[in-house]
Symmetry: C2
Subunit: 316 residues, 2 copies
Amino acid sequence: MSEAKPESSTPDYPEQFAGIRNKIERRLTEIAPSVSGTAPRLKRSIRYSLLDGGKRLRPLITVLTTEALGGRAADAIDAACAIEMVHSASLVIDDLPCMDDATQRRGKPANHIAHGEDIAILGAISLISDAFGLIARDRHLPPDVKADLVSSLSKAIGVDGLCAGQERDLRDITEHSDAESLAQLQYQKTGALFVACLEAGARIAGLPQDSLAPLQAFGTHMGLAFQILDDLLDAVGQSAATGKDHRADLGKQTYAAIMSLDEAEAQASRELSCALEALEPAGINQAPFAAFLNLVLAAYQVQVDFGQVRQARARV
Amino acid sequence: MSEAKPESSTPDYPEQFAGIRNKIERRLTEIAPSVSGTAPRLKRSIRYSLLDGGKRLRPLITVLTTEALGGRAADAIDAACAIEMVHSASLVIDDLPCMDDATQRRGKPANHIAHGEDIAILGAISLISDAFGLIARDRHLPPDVKADLVSSLSKAIGVDGLCAGQERDLRDITEHSDAESLAQLQYQKTGALFVACLEAGARIAGLPQDSLAPLQAFGTHMGLAFQILDDLLDAVGQSAATGKDHRADLGKQTYAAIMSLDEAEAQASRELSCALEALEPAGINQAPFAAFLNLVLAAYQVQVDFGQVRQARARV
């Protein structure tokens, strides 16, 4: 008989996260269209961008939120995958020649380089459309929750979400460069989809639609913090580390453009604190959410040593 | 006192159709984002393609189906508008330089010519995403019907719908040019969205999901007939009449390319008969559907006189 180990009183978050990620990867592989029948190029383009080893932060925080609020992970997997499909599509669109004209994404050629611009666009639209279908056909969720999730995801994409953020990112280069306008832009670019993750996770766990404000606030602050870190990463640019084109944001409205690196770091840190504090009044256990933030920060710190960043910046 | 007129025993379909179209136009105007706040270019691009005087055939058949099956038009208006939003978006995408590279649509510059390629793409994606949101937030429909409508619309767009049809239209130029393969391609390009209209109209009227087959068959045959007519129209090309670039389909898989004009006309006629016959076993009143088909045919006949078509063809 093996000796009984003392049970840890705190959950093992890295292990929990790894378990969720495994489920998400497995489900994404099932969902991705198999390359048979008609339109094989379209299906290959979808697989290329959906099954490419992204960090899966959005589906992870979705499922994590459901579990943290007492729901079952199994109920949240499809909704989480739907959000990842939208995120994958948004990267394909951002990289297009008529937008950021990026050649690399996640360390390989951008979708339009590998599959052609026409197929990349059609693949992205399929991903977005199929994401809504996946939610609508989810067998774990009651119809009213599905409708709320579709509504929430739709808002995160359209004229107040990703599309608006991308329009402004491309066209508002010189118009609005104060911190407030930038925060709103970054909400549209990044925060809105994180808010959709938090809303979905909470609704699936059974929270009513009118109790979501603390989680929406968490998502907004977290999105802003991550966008600041992304801006810093791009400003010092390490293609090998990021898997993206280096200094693609040059000339755009970014935090690196309107404040010093020290200020930007401090701002990111403040946003992360605000994110966690937003959960407090609702009595939501901060621990799993803090663990998630630490996980993401650890990933950034591997890529960006802030000391090095300052040196690189000084040489530019 | 005015003299009482004898009431007609048959419904006045042109009047009914005009009434439905008025409601749709009014609602589309309400739905279209007002150009204020952030991302004005995106919002202008959406308005440009959504409020441009399209024939509104898809929302019309949606509402008509609901009424024909005993439901209320008011319940179907938003779902009908959602389908029109998807249709408008699909035209913007089809016209892009990397796709059909069309310069004109509905008698004015294509969206990407007027607003830029980036904004055209973002506008189309917003339209598609907002279409799902409109259904999800519809106050007239119960949540289970909303979920079915989202699922149906999603299928009409993705890897078995519009995106697949467009992929094949662009890339399968020489591979499959028999009538069967072409029928499947045309289903994806045109039929799938018409089927979504019929399904939506029927579900809103209260038909259960497993009773939709006759209406799906009607939509499939009707879509095929219209696509054949479109092919013929494009083959003889009259930019002024169609508002589109002339002979844009040259070299593509079309009915005009694989059969004579006489054969194509006969095929379109057969498909229209099959469409109506499909309704018979279910005991659905064919009259409003036949009136709809006649309305569409009348519009085509204004633009295409088949005698002229043959003469034009002989000169090519």
